[in-house]
């Protein structure tokens, strides 16, 4: 009551401004006395549409502003095209100009009212008072918007952390781990001597190096076990004959996450850590990475990868969901988590294939393809099957002969994957579909028709079949196929333009007034984060990637490569990667919550359920999608 009484002694308009401030970060975490100081020292200013609010010509910035109503946009002059370009937008509850005010310099960007706008403003003196007295405010000013992003990540992590309780981040570079001095030996050492050396040092692995300390192989206790069990040779054998050649290695700057992912993918327990010149500097083991944590990614991947029965695989799916929780808790970002899910899904798919091959091998080598989100390595917990088969027809057989052999096998695999939680594809985009179990020649013809006849249906399919990856079997046939496909697309400007036009149809869910545009009238206040939020990025990026001969299907990697190739400005690429990841993060958090509540997983969210910070970030992310589409529009003159 005391606080309420104190509040009542303040004038109505002061209270009203405090209420407004409390709805926005960082004010929401500030003390009332500081908010009151702000409100009592504020001026309220009006700017009509297009009025200049702040300009670089005005000299050192002396005031701090908050948008009370309306919007401010930052303008930068584009020399090349001689026109004003919007560099940022500041909407209700947001502050400006932080960097200039802190740096006691003029602003570098012209701030202009975008529509009729009211701003609250305080003078430097009041700003300094609040800055020096309020920690949340100071923190916000010094770290700017990046602190908002941190807050989001912190929240994602802390929520998942609650169920686990550890703080060691997977972002930690490997060099920060206590790398043990690696136990090494030369290639000619007999196995029994190498094992003796391991025993003396109480380690489970030994690295075989050449004279220059480059790692050439690795030998572990597991290898020893296999060697003895399978009678592969005597203990006098030189170690180079039994070691695993060309061991997996990572630079010391790589982080724990990369190491974990690599281990999970290949089921290793040890990795070599090397410097820039590939000289061995240490070994990192699964136990090193996870000694403080109970994140059992590697173990889980191995359990999946060595499961002997389908029912084991089915039961392990629950562990995958639990792992995602713990990954978020350990600071994995959304890009990392989707990759982990994809990695574990890959391991599952491979294992299902291996188990089936053991039972009834169709006797013909094939490459198992995945399409769409799985092809892009962007799967979340909500996933269905999009797969196909690529084979090379042996001499003396027709394509149809091979297909007849492979289809029953594929049918079984599709069904078993469904049991593991990969929903059967409603559109029958599955390997058991005769139209998607094709020889290399047939696939090539298929793509020629696909590219030449740009029917609307084909354009819909582009998001599936142009994001393709090999999960099992030889990868070389797919690589050859992709090279041809990319070359055809590169040469076919019309197809590119059709793709671009199609991608352009998928507008980010923002209205002209930068409010959220909802799905439809029935689903008021509902956004589809996948179709409305992520798809505009995925589709636009695909066009640029295909047009520039980029083979990878992963959206973030495509952006990375487009930036390297100079197709995207590095800053733009970063902003887009960040925006895309944030939408993905919000989507995954929603999935995790639905799972906790035992609800069916959907991609729908109501932005009103988000806190103001997430809402703001979501809106800004959608705006980045609009900018990306503008680039598409300009490039292809849509």
């Amino acid at each position: 009551m005391a606080a309420a009484n104190q509040d009542m002694t303040r004038p109505q308009n002061t209270r009203a401004i405090m209420t407004f401030l409390r709805e926005h970060s960082p004010f929401s975490s500030m003390d009332d006395t500081h908010l009151a100081h702000f409100a009592e020292h504020a001026t309220l200013r009006f700017y009509a549409d297009e009025d200049v609010v702040l300009s670089p010509d005005e000299g050192v910035v002396k005031r701090f502003y908050i948008v009370k109503q309306g919007r401010i946009r930052g303008e930068r002059h584009n020399e090349k095209e001689d026109r004003a370009e919007t560099t940022f937008e500041i909407s209700q509850g947001e502050c400006f100009p932080l960097a200039a005010l802190i740096g006691e310099r003029p602003t570098r960007t012209l701030h202009r009212a975008d529509g009729d706008t009211f701003c609250l403003s305080i003078e430097q003196k009041a700003f300094i008072t609040i800055f020096s007295e309020s920690e949340p405010f100071r923190d916000f000013c010094l770290r700017g918007v990046s602190s908002l992003l941190d807050q989001v990540n912190q929240r994602i992590q802390s929520r998942a952390m609650a169920s686990i309780g550890s703080s060691n981040s997977l972002d930690t570079p490997l060099e920060r781990y206590a790398l043990r001095n690696p136990i090494v030996c030369s290639p000619d050492l007999p196995v029994h001597k190498a094992v003796a050396r391991m025993h003396e040092n109480n380690v489970g692995s030994i690295i075989i190096t050449d004279d220059n300390r480059h790692p050439t192989g690795i030998f572990t206790l597991r290898d020893l076990r296999t060697m003895i069990a399978e009678e592969k040779g005597s203990l006098d054998t030189p170690i180079r004959q039994v070691m695993t050649k060309d061991p997996c290695r990572l630079p010391a700057t790589a982080d724990a996450f990369e190491a974990a992912l690599l281990m999970a993918e290949h089921h290793f327990a040890h990795l070599c850590v090397v410097d820039d010149e590939d000289l061995l500097i240490g070994v990192v083991s699964e136990r090193d990475l996870f000694s403080l944590q109970r994140v059992d990614l590697v173990n889980l991947a191995r359990t999946i990868g060595t499961a002997t029965h389908l029912r084991t695989l089915v039961s392990l799916r629950a562990d995958v969901s639990r792992l995602v929780d713990s990954m978020l808790a350990h600071g994995a970002d959304s890009g990392q988590v989707v990759k982990i899910i994809t990695t574990l899904n890959d391991v599952t798919v491979r294992r299902v294939l291996e188990l089936n091959l053991k039972k009834h091998d169709p006797g013909i080598p094939f490459t198992w393809l995945t399409f769409g989100s799985e092809g892009r390595q962007e799967q979340t917990l909500l996933t269905d099957q999009d797969n196909g088969i690529l084979f090379e027809t042996p001499e003396g057989m027709t394509d149809q002969d091979v297909r007849d052999k492979l289809l029953p096998f594929a049918r079984k695999v599709n069904d078993e994957l469904a049991e593991c939680g990969f929903t059967l594809c409603k559109g029958n985009i599955m390997a058991s579909n005769p139209k998607l179990c094709l020889s290399d020649r047939e696939w090539d013809d298929w793509f020629i028709r696909f590219i030449d006849a740009s029917t609307p249906q084909n354009l819909v399919y582009s998001s599936i079949f142009l994001d393709m990856r090999a999960v099992f079997g030889p990868t070389e046939p797919l690589h050859r196929l992709l090279k041809k496909v990319l070359e055809r697309i590169r040469k076919n400007a019309l197809f590119q333009k059709m793709l671009a036009g199609n991608a352009f149809q998928r507008k980010p869910p923002l209205t002209m007034f930068r409010n959220f545009r909802y799905l439809n009238d029935e689903k008021k206040h509902v956004l589809d984060l996948k179709r409305q939020g992520l798809a505009p990025f995925v589709e636009s990026i695909r066009v640029f990637a295909l047009a520039n001969g980029i083979e990878t299907a992963n959206t973030l990697e495509r952006m990375e490569q487009l930036s390297k190739k100079g197709v995207f400005d590095a800053k733009d690429a970063n902003a887009w990667k960040e925006a895309y990841s944030l939408i993905q993060a919000i989507r995954m958090r929603a999935h995790q919550e639905m799972l906790d509540n035992g609800e069916e997983l959907t991609n729908y969210i109501d932005p009103d359920d988000l806190n103001p910070l997430d809402r703001r970030i979501l809106r800004e992310s959608f705006r980045q999608a609009q900018r990306l589409q503008q680039k598409l529009e300009v490039t292809y003159q849509l």
Binding site: P11, N13, T14, T43, R45
Partner: protein, 235 residues
């Protein structure tokens, strides 16, 4: 600001009561070539017990000042005078005027004197200002015998003068604040209404500046012309 009132009231109570020579109060300004972008304007709203100025009384006064084209929130006036239907002690406590002052019977008088000092003789704006003007002048005369004329301007006239084509759904304060999508923190709270009126005034002054109306005199003339135009249409 309330510190000021309290201090001032304390001074008043500590002896020198009744020493209010209206001539020591700031002299009301006249309409001149004051630059609108620089001068101080008072935007005021009254809450009354009813609409009849001969019978009803002022309950609350809320006002904010515009100076240099900007609303200064450290320069505002927010006072409830008397609310017969409420427990007077509580009402008064909220607004920092002690019961002591009340029992001495100075509260309205003191508050009005403070208002006059605070207004500093600057031009007054209100929404449907004739109403507020009538009530305030009546109260000032009855309580203080104060009859000096102040410059009054009607924001309800100001807005259509500068936004003649605005598609407003009516002529009330709510209609214009809806039109400009303004939010009133608490409708029919004098201070909150004064603030939203002041916000509308900022919008109008911004437009005035762009239309070349730069001085107080030009503004008053514009309103005058507007009124004549309206009357011509009427007859």
């Amino acid at each position: 600001m309330f510190e000021h009132i309290k201090q001032w009231l304390a001074q008043r109570r500590s002896g020198v009561t009744g020493d209010h020579d209206p001539e020591h109060l700031p002299t009301p300004k006249t309409v001149d070539d004051q630059q609108l972008s620089r001068c101080r304007l008072v935007v005021l709203d009254l809450e009354t017990t009813g609409l009849n100025s001969s019978k009803d009384e002022v309950i609350a006064i809320g006002a904010v000042a515009i100076e240099g084209g900007v609303i200064h929130l450290n320069d505002q006036f927010d006072l409830i005078l008397r609310r017969p239907e409420l427990d007077i002690r509580e009402t008064v406590l909220i607004h920092g005027i002690g019961t002591e002052a009340l029992t001495q019977g100075h509260e309205t008088e003191d508050a009005l004197l403070y208002l006059l000092e605070w207004m500093n003789g600057d031009p007054v704006l209100a929404y449907h200002s004739a109403f507020d003007q009538k009530f305030l002048e009546k109260t000032l005369k009855a309580q203080l015998g104060y009859t000096l004329p102040h410059v009054w301007m009607d924001v309800a006239e100001l807005l259509p003068a500068f936004f003649p084509h605005a598609d407003v759904k009516g002529r009330g304060l709510d209609h214009w604040s809806d039109y400009f999508r303004l939010e009133v923190s608490e409708r029919h709270h004098a201070a909150a209404d004064a603030l939203v009126t002041a916000e509308l005034t900022l919008v109008a002054l911004n437009k005035a500046q762009k239309n070349g109306v730069k001085t107080l005199k030009e503004l008053v003339e514009k309103l005058h012309y507007q009124r004549r135009l309206k009357n011509m249409h009427r007859y």
